[in-house]
C-alpha cells in the first residue's frame, strides 16, 4: 500500500506541486469572488472547463496541429503556447463576466436571498456544462502534443519534466502578477475595499458593479491560465472535467481561508500534494473521496482556513 508512495516519493512530490499550482490559479476564481460577494462562484468549474477547450481549439483548429503531429520547437513553440494561454485566459474571462451578468447581477440588484443566488449560479453552471456536452457529444477531446515532454533532469529519482516545470514557473509568475494587481492597482484597491465593506466602499465613490465585474474577470483570467496548464500537462479534456478540478480548487480555497489570496496559494499547493499522495497510497479511484473528506473536515474544524486569521480580522 505504501510501497509506491515510498519509492516514488520525490516524483509524486514534484508532480503534486505542479498540480498544486494549477489548483492555486483555479482557486483564485473562487476566493476573489467570495471576497467581494461573500458567495461561492459555483460556475467557476465550468469557467475552467471552457478554458481547457479554448486551449485545445487554438492548438487544433487555429494552428492545425493534430493528435499525431510532431511537437513544435523554438520560436514557434513559444508563439503557439503564448497564443493558447492568452486565448484560454480570454475565453475564461469572458465566460466569468457572462456568469456574473446572468447569474448574479439581477438578483443582487433586487437583494433577494442567498439561496436564490446560489441556485441561479448552479443553474448557470449546469447550462454551461451541458452546452459543451452537447457540442462534444459527451466524448473526451484529446489535445495535440505541442510541447514535447522532455525530461530535463533527474533529481532523487524524480523525472523533472518540462511541462511540469513550465506549469510551476509560469503559474507562479501569473499568480504573483495577479496578487500584485490586487495589492497595488487602483482597481485592485477598489476590489479590496469592496470586500472589506461594501457600503463604505460605495460611499467612497467605488463603482460596485464595475468592481464586481472586474473581480469575476480577474478570477476568470486566473482560472483560464490554469486551464491552459491543465491541457499542457494532461493533454485531454472533457465536458465534466471542471467538476472534480473545481471542487478540489474550492477545497484549496477553503483550506487557505476563502477570500484570502495568499492563503489560496498554500491551500492549492497543499491540495495538489495531498491528492497526489492519496492516489499513490489509496489508489486513484479514492482520490476524489479523499479530497471531499478533507473539504468536509476543513469546513467543520477550520472553517476560516488554515491561514484564515488575517482575513477574519479584515472582515470584522
Amino acid at each position: 500500500m505504501f510501497n509506491v508512495f515510498i519509492h516514488q516519493f520525490w516524483q509524486l512530490t514534484f508532480s503534486g506541486i505542479a498540480l498544486g499550482f494549477i489548483y492555486v490559479l483555479i482557486s483564485l476564481g473562487y476566493t476573489m469572488v467570495y471576497g467581494v460577494l461573500r458567495m461561492i462562484n459555483f460556475a467557476n468549474s465550468e469557467i475552467f472547463m471552457w478554458g481547457t477547450f479554448a486551449t485545445v481549439i487554438v492548438g487544433r483548429d487555429f494552428f492545425d496541429y493534430t493528435l499525431t503531429s510532431e511537437p513544435v520547437h523554438g520560436v514557434k513553440l513559444v508563439l503557439v503556447l503564448l497564443v493558447s494561454l492568452l486565448a484560454s485566459m480570454a475565453v475564461s474571462g469572458i465566460v466569468a463576466v457572462f456568469v456574473e451578468f446572468v447569474a448574479y447581477r439581477r438578483l443582487r440588484a433586487r437583494g433577494t436571498n442567498r439561496l436564490a443566488t446560489l441556485i441561479s449560479a448552479i443553474g448557470t453552471s449546469i447550462a454551461l456544462a451541458e452546452v459543451m456536452r452537447l457540442l462534444t457529444h459527451s466524448r473526451p477531446t484529446g489535445a495535440p502534443r505541442i510541447l514535447e515532454k522532455v525530461i530535463l533532469a533527474e533529481v532523487w529519482g524524480a523525472n523533472i519534466r518540462l511541462d511540469n516545470v513550465l506549469t510551476i514557473v509560469a503559474a507562479g509568475i501569473i499568480f504573483v502578477l495577479l496578487e500584485r494587481f490586487v495589492k497595488l492597482s487602483r482597481m485592485g484597491k477598489a476590489i479590496r475595499a469592496a470586500s472589506m465593506n461594501e457600503d463604505a466602499a460605495k460611499l467612497m465613490g467605488v463603482n460596485l458593479n464595475q468592481v464586481i465585474t472586474a473581480t469575476f474577470l480577474v478570477g476568470g483570467l486566473a482560472t483560464g491560465a490554469a486551464s491552459f496548464f491543465y491541457v499542457t500537462v494532461f493533454e485531454i479534456t472533457k465536458f465534466n472535467v471542471g467538476f472534480t478540478m473545481g471542487l478540489a480548487a474550492f477545497t484549496a480555497a477553503v483550506l487557505g481561508g476563502i477570500g484570502n489570496i495568499r492563503g489560496a496559494f498554500f491551500g492549492g499547493l497543499f491540495l495538489g500534494l495531498l491528492e497526489t499522495y492519496a492516489s499513490a497510497i489509496l489508489g486513484t479511484q479514492w482520490k476524489a473521496v479523499s479530497v471531499f473528506l478533507v473539504l468536509i473536515l476543513a469546513l467543520l474544524f477550520r472553517p476560516n482556513g488554515l491561514f484564515g486569521e488575517a482575513v477574519q480580522q479584515t472582515r470584522a
Binding site: M39, I40, V102, A103, R106, L107, T112, R114, L115, A116, T117, L118, I119, S120, I122, G123, T124, S125, I126, A127, L128, A129, E130, V131, R133, L134, F243, L247, F250, Q285, W286, A288, V289, F292, L293, L295, I296, L299, L300, P303
Partner: protein
C-alpha cells in the same frame, strides 16, 4: 401576476368540511386514473406512458416533496439528496438479491438506513451554514456514490442485478410491462408524505423550521433548539428519499452507481425551485411537469439538463418564488402590519 396558490387557497377556505372531502377524494381519484389515459394527448412518444408515470413523474414528485422538507421548510440547501435515494436503492438491491426478504420487508430497513445516514451527515455538517452546507452535502453525495462505485460488496461499477419485483398485493401482480400497480404504490407513498408534511407543518417542528428558515440566529435566541430541528428535517427528507430508492430498485431490477450522480440531486432541486420552494402543491406541480415534459417533447429529452439549468436561472431571476409561491401567509402578515400603523 396571478397567484394561483392564493386562488386555490381561497376556494379551499370557502368550502365546508363535506366539500373539502369531496375535492380531496375527487382529486385523488382523478390522479389514480392517470395510468388509463395512455392513448390521449398525454401519451409519450419515446418511453412507455405507464412507466413514465412511475419514473420519472411519480418518483420525482415523491423525492421533491422530501427535499422540500429540507430546502423549502427549513431553508437548508442540500445538494447531496441523491445519496439517501442511493442508500435506499442499494439496500433493496443487496438485500433483495442476496436474501429472501421481499420489498415490503426491506422498505423499513432502507428507510432506517437512509435516516441513520441523515443523522450521520447532519450532526457534523449542519453546524455550517448556507453555501458551505451546500458544498458539504454535495461532497457527501459524491462520497456515497464513489463508495458504491469502488467497493466490491456493492459490485462496483457493474452495479447489482437480479433485484426481485415486489410481491403481489391483493392478488395483483407487479409487472414491468404494465406498471399501474407501481404507480398506485407511488401515489400512496406521495399521499402519506403529504399527510406527514401537513401534520408537521402546523405543529412545533413546522414552526421551528419556519423560524430557522427566516432567521436562524433569532430562532436560536428565542430558544428553538435549531440543530435538533435541522437534523429532524434532514432525517425526514432522507426517509422519503430512502423509501423512493427502495421502490426504484425494485422497479428497475438493476441499479448501478452511475444512476446516482449529482445530476439527480440537481434535477430534484430544480423541481422544488420551479414549482415554488416551500409550497407542497407547487412542488408537486413542478416535479410532475419537469418529470413529464422531457418524455413528452422529444427535443427536451436530449437536452434535458440544459433546459433544467436554464429553468433554474430564469425562475430565480424572474419569478424567484416559483410557479405556485408560498405567499399567502406572509402577505397576510404584511397586510396586518400595514393596518396597524
Amino acid at each position: 401576476m396571478l397567484n394561483l396558490r392564493d386562488a386555490g387557497a381561497s376556494i379551499w377556505e370557502k368550502s365546508n368540511r363535506f366539500q373539502r372531502t369531496l375535492i380531496s377524494v375527487g382529486t385523488i381519484a382523478l390522479v389514480a386514473m392517470l395510468p388509463f389515459a395512455g392513448n390521449t394527448i398525454l401519451a409519450t412518444p419515446i418511453a412507455a406512458y405507464g412507466a413514465v408515470l412511475v419514473y420519472p413523474v411519480g418518483m420525482f414528485v415523491l423525492m421533491a416533496l422530501g427535499l422540500n422538507i429540507v430546502v423549502g421548510k427549513s431553508g437548508l440547501l442540500d445538494l447531496g439528496y441523491v445519496a439517501f435515494f442511493a442508500i435506499g436503492a442499494y439496500t433493496m438491491a443487496i438485500l433483495g438479491s442476496r436474501t429472501t426478504l421481499n420489498t415490503w420487508e426491506i422498505m423499513p430497513i432502507g428507510i432506517a438506513l437512509a435516516m441513520f445516514s441523515g443523522v450521520l451527515l447532519g450532526l457534523p455538517s449542519l453546524r455550517v451554514r448556507g453555501d458551505y452546507l451546500a458544498i458539504v452535502t454535495l461532497g457527501f453525495g459524491e462520497i456515497v456514490r464513489l463508495v458504491f462505485l469502488n467497493s466490491t460488496w456493492s459490485n462496483g461499477p457493474n452495479g447489482v442485478s437480479g433485484i426481485p419485483l415486489p410481491p403481489d398485493i391483493l392478488g395483483q401482480q407487479f409487472k414491468l410491462e404494465d406498471q399501474k400497480l407501481f404507480f398506485w404504490v407511488v401515489l400512496v407513498m406521495i399521499l402519506l408524505t403529504i399527510w406527514m408534511i401537513r401534520r408537521l407543518s402546523i405543529r412545533r417542528p413546522g414552526r421551528a423550521w419556519e423560524a430557522i428558515r427566516q432567521d436562524e440566529d433569532a430562532a436560536q435566541l428565542m430558544g428553538v433548539p435549531t440543530l435538533k430541528y435541522k437534523i429532524w428535517s434532514f432525517v425526514l427528507g432522507a426517509a422519503v428519499a430512502g423509501a423512493a430508492g427502495v421502490l426504484f430498485a425494485s422497479k428497475t431490477l438493476f441499479i448501478a452507481p452511475e444512476m446516482f450522480t449529482l445530476n439527480v440531486s440537481i434535477l430534484i432541486l430544480c423541481c422544488v425551485v420551479f414549482g415554488g420552494i416551500g409550497n407542497i402543491w407547487g412542488v408537486i406541480a413542478g416535479a410532475a411537469i419537469l418529470g413529464y415534459l422531457p418524455d413528452r417533447i422529444r427535443f427536451i429529452a436530449d437536452a434535458r439538463l440544459l433546459v433544467f439549468g436554464i429553468i433554474l436561472v430564469a425562475v430565480m431571476n424572474f419569478r424567484p418564488d416559483g410557479l405556485l409561491p408560498r405567499k399567502k401567509r406572509e402577505k397576510a402578515l404584511i397586510e396586518k402590519a400595514g393596518t396597524q400603523k
